[in-house]
Point group: C2
Chain length 298, copies 2
């Protein structure tokens, strides 16, 4: 695959495995689309599918999956801990390889347009695709959830970007948009004192005057007798792994606490690793095309 976009659609069904598998099937055995993972949570009554592919092929598969979800998931009978406003709740597109953010935004709009029209589903563009600033944040778009959607959409502020002006009777509405890949990165601390971990997290994160694209919280690892600063880096091209790591180390010094090591959770784009190795080794002109495995893929 030359161009790759990742998509992580969230579906409001986490208990009926047959339904989840039917949706996931839309991504299986398709040319130029690869189903990477899917997982369901019964308490949340929600499933998250991770898929990647060539833009056009991915678009077709996502449209197909949305159709299946609209048909099989009925929000009027849905309960679960996780907030939701639609059968398909949110569809983020993430540029991965040879794709710009603008291309991912364009794809998200094409998908929004298609599913609005085809399934009579109101679509709100969010994150980088948002057409109005108050729609960038998913929590804002989803506020009021499925049950509050009908009234919320009466306001011109919440006129959808695509699809009908009122919610789909059983499938609600959906947020579609483009965003950067998240990097989940934790730094373990040589202290069992959660207060210290929390204090460091507050310094490191954006809202505490820290790094622009860093969310962070203190976490206790009881079995290990240590704590950690657990972080989400929402734009690793600007807030790199090494910057988050070194800032935790720097803030920890105030407490006489040392860093016990870092931990990458889940998948990470190669560029995010290369960026860190380039910092520590002082590499000037290194390109990921020099990585043998990447060269072999070309």
């Amino acid at each position: 695959m030359n161009k790759i976009i990742e998509c992580v659609p969230n579906f409001s069904e986490g208990r009926d495995k047959q339904i989840v598998e039917k949706i996931a099937d839309a991504f299986s055995a398709k040319d130029n689309v690869k189903l990477l993972d899917y997982s369901s949570d019964a308490d949340h009554n929600r499933s998250v599918i991770t898929v990647a592919g060539e833009p056009e092929a991915l678009k077709e598969a996502v449209i197909e999956a949305v159709g299946i979800a609209v048909e099989l998931i009925n929000l009027t009978k849905h309960s679960g801990q996780h907030p939701r406003m639609g059968a398909v709740d949110v569809i983020p597109f993430i540029p991965i390889k040879n794709v710009t953010m603008d291309e991912a935004i364009t794809l998200s709009k094409e998908v929004g347009d298609a599913i609005g029209e085809k399934y009579n589903l109101p679509v709100f563009l969010y994150e980088k695709s948002a057409t109005q600033q108050h729609r960038e944040n998913l929590a804002n778009v989803r506020k009021g959830e499925f049950e509050g959607l009908k009234e919320k959409m009466l306001s011109p502020e919440w006129k959808p970007d695509f699809g009908p002006l009122q919610p789909h009777p059983t499938a609600g509405a959906v947020a579609v948009g483009a965003r950067m890949p998240l990097v989940a990165y934790n730094v373990n601390l040589n202290t069992s004192d959660l207060e210290i971990a929390t204090a460091i997290a507050k310094k490191v994160r954006h809202i505490g005057g820290g790094l622009r694209f860093c969310k962070a919280m203190g976490v206790e690892l009881e079995d290990k007798g240590i704590t950690q600063v657990s972080m989400n880096l929402t734009d690793y091209t600007k807030t790199s792994i090494y910057r988050a790591h070194e800032m935790v180390r720097m803030e920890a010094k105030r407490y006489g606490v040392t860093v016990a090591g870092g931990e990458v959770i889940g998948l990470v784009p190669l560029e995010a690793l290369v960026d860190s190795v380039a910092y520590y080794l002082g590499l000037d002109n290194f390109s990921i095309k020099q990585v043998l495995e990447i060269k072999l893929m070309e």
Copy 2:
């Protein structure tokens, strides 16, 4: 491709482009084999082809390429600066992905057996495939070159592992073996004094009491007004990039010289980079399967 072996055969023709292209063609448009690069040097009168593929497919393509070279290259008429003993001078196999060194050794022996038989070509196994210690080092195997081969092979010490007991009249003999991938890594120094760079190189390298799998020399970068320690890491799984880098930094301190940065030359296995990022960030359980691009390849 699930299993990948790299092969970097050297051919004793660097002037006649048509011949080089005919040999390279043996690797083009083959299923499960990828021609990564080839380059010719007219002074050396020698060409190096870099190819990678699934073991079986790669084996067939290499055997085919050797046949073309034996037919088209005549060592009795060959001159060039680079030492050589055969039309195909050396064929190293390098395990890259899901392949053990033992499997690469086995493949090298299968290829050696096949080309010895098929083309009446004496084959010496070298490096990790060597059957006798004095044949591990390629320079030993090649000593005396094409012109001295007939007399050299009279000695039982130089009975070939495969093929006839005397050289091929026009194609000489070939060394075939398995080895680790080389990592070419340089560290730039904030000094224009070549003597300092050379002194550091001597400390860092194996023969000077330094790192086991490190070859190094001092080099002057005249246009930049600095020097560098230029290294070959012959087993990056044991002598990692970060170890070489930090040892150069440590030795440079003695001269009050600082490190201006590192430089990776050519291709590098992902594992070698990950190993260094894991050192600097203190990552404990990171796997290259967490790299998105690698996950996509699975």
